[in-house]
Symmetry: D2
Subunit: 242 residues, 4 copies
């Protein structure tokens, strides 16, 4: 499988952002016609209050622009977030896709010990479960590798025969990587994070797929660094987006 | 390839709708505080006026709910329509996907005789072009069939080994069919149609991929039947959505 | 004040709707490729599950269309709801506005016994508070009546002088009634209701202004009648919109 | 009328922005997996192409944040722009509104020489029309001044009687100034400008009210300075937003 690059993590880069915690406070203070800057402590209190009381609009007067590279099945979940999200993605119509494919790392649970509605992708708890996971992992790697190779061979063969990229790409698996720009704001991002990160301490525990969670965690890290007070208030508020 | 169902068309069913051309007129006439019903002729004139002058909101007071079955690569294009569109799709996390795959019909052009920016998927014009298309078609069918079979075999093999559906599905090609509910309104639908149907008579000629155009044409047919005056005005207005 | 009609309630009529609780369930069941109709009991369980787990999209495959007449200051709050809401309003540019004005009923609290952030519009608790409310009410009626009359006189006088409606209307108070069509879906409506109805039993208690709450309660009543299972689940879920 | 400040222009300040023409190009070039920076000339060509062909999403990966102060009737029109617009406005519930009122300048046409559907707010063409305008202006100033004074007197009187701000404000005219933060992106802004600026050279000539056009022109000026290539392409494209 010399041609294929195998990856098990997404790439997430913060390319640019606008605003800050204190500017979010500025936007909120318009409502009381108050344009004075306050201390960090007072700002943190205000942000906590906004989060807790579902005053969401002040968090829209800021922006974050990301570059994200992840498998197509993850982008499919991502693109269901319609409001406050802008996307530009690499196009299989215009571009020969790069040969980058996703094969999960061995730490990625292979088996759902629960049900669909109540999934349980736990780390194996017993020797039997460990064996099950290891066996499943080996089966997965073998099957996925063959399927990826075959798909890529078919894709390249069709391109060489002069078939249009938009036709040839129909064989490509949803495990192939794609690339996109994503622009959002702290409010829409918090809504995304609340659904795409699993946290037992959250007020509403969500069960996102492992791979979009990998993306979400990297976005959350950048969010924490750019808007630390808003991040703190969001976590303290049980990950309930305003 | 006994297991796989091969399809070359999407399924599009109008499940339900709300409103009518005359009710769209009612919504428009709120602006002049005028709640009288008028003749069909007067309504048609008003609808023409609304379309031409970009008064889009009256077309939002109606709704259309569709069932759509089409390949994933088509759904990927579809889901980029964020505003005035609601989606619920079959989930590869919760469901073993049906073995329904897309292989284009021979009438589907295989070769782009233009460029990416100026595509030309013309019906072959010369014996040489006809030969090129026929050859490409044969290459496509062979390669796509192998890739689909291999992907499906891998998928089933992983499921049988107890691997979670959400993991196993990563090998599935974007040419597999998915299913969804789509709800929109005449305004958002006209915007979709203006981008997803190619019509040389349109004020702005769009170049959508063949397959999403198959879906769009079926949706347009239902639109024409449910809102005939709005449809007429839209076409007369050069397919410019308000 | 012979010309002015004084009103103290909004008008809210459900003009049309699409869908039902069981059709919301249909949309949800697409995700598991399950198109069978189930019993009402099973549907209620599913709807409870969707609400509780923030699966909001199935509630978008339905629609409700309302006629609403209420004061402009209430419409101003209403129009801040951008997502899943469509509006067409009577235009002061094109229409001479009807002489319908809002003067609150005596049961409407006149005095905030709390603060802006923690308002307390309680029913008077003591004879002193009762006296304060009654006095304030009398002052309000007198002042509002004069201001309305003066504004209306100015407006009519300008119209008679041939001044454009869009200019003359600048004197009209935000307490004048306007009229609009509003179309939304159960999801966007639940979000609206969660912010615009105060309920001490809600998970997040909101403090909307009295007048938009009058509108919201009438919309909620229609929601309850059209989608009783969704309504029940919403209330049981502490008025948390999915 | 010593208390009232009379204004005839809006205030529009660009507070912050993110992105540039070349970064819009970056976002567009993701689709062809091309991350190289190009010359200004090449960028301008790409931007022209995007505008002309209705590729709107690249223009969403940038942001502009404005402070706007204008009369309430103008904000009412503004807030009907729902998509790609975020608002935080001074609240009459929490704040005593500043005594700033709009009275049009004498250059503002007072008379519609056309119809509602085909308005004609032309500069007076004949001595008779000039006289009509001058007379109307005098009538307007007199009537508006009285109505504003009366409304303000009533408002203050109610506040002094301890009546809640949210009640007292119902007498305030839609000609009083309000203040808000507005955040948008070049795409949503172009859509706004296409509807809110009248330009005889536009592909679709819009007929916005004079006052929102005052706001729009100031926003357009900032847009021109921040995204000069996009602005140029937008104008060259007949003010058709992508």
């Amino acid at each position: 499988m010399t041609d294929l690059t195998i990856l098990d993590v997404p790439q997430v880069d913060l390319l640019d952002y606008m605003g800050s915690d204190s500017e979010i406070c500025d936007a909120a203070r318009v409502s009381t016609n108050n344009f004075e800057r306050k201390s960090a402590e007072v700002d943190q209190k205000l942000i906590n209050y906004l989060l807790k009381n579902k005053h969401g609009t002040p968090f829209e007067h800021a922006a974050m622009k990301f570059y994200v590279s992840a498998p197509i099945f993850t982008f499919r979940e991502f693109h269901r977030h319609r409001i406050g999200f802008s996307y530009n993605e690499m196009s299989g119509r215009y571009t020969e896709l790069p040969a980058e494919f996703y094969i999960p790392n061995i730490v990625r649970p292979m088996i759902n010990f629960g049900t669909s509605a109540h999934p349980d992708y736990r780390v194996p708890q017993t020797p039997a479960e460990t064996h099950q996971q290891e066996h499943a992992y080996a089966v997965m790697v073998e099957n996925v590798s063959i399927a990826y190779e075959e798909a890529w061979k078919s894709y390249k063969c069709m391109l060489e025969a002069g078939i249009a990229k938009e036709v040839a790409r129909i064989v490509l698996p949803v495990g192939i990587y794609s690339r996109m720009y994503v622009t959002c704001n702290p409010r829409s991002l918090m809504n995304f994070l609340s659904l795409r990160i699993e946290d037992e301490k959250a007020a509403h525990v969500s069960h996102p797929q492992y791979e979009i969670q990998q993306v979400a965690k990297k976005m959350e890290f950048e969010f924490m660094r750019s808007f630390p007070m808003t991040y703190k208030a969001y976590i303290d508020n049980g990950r309930v987006a305003p």
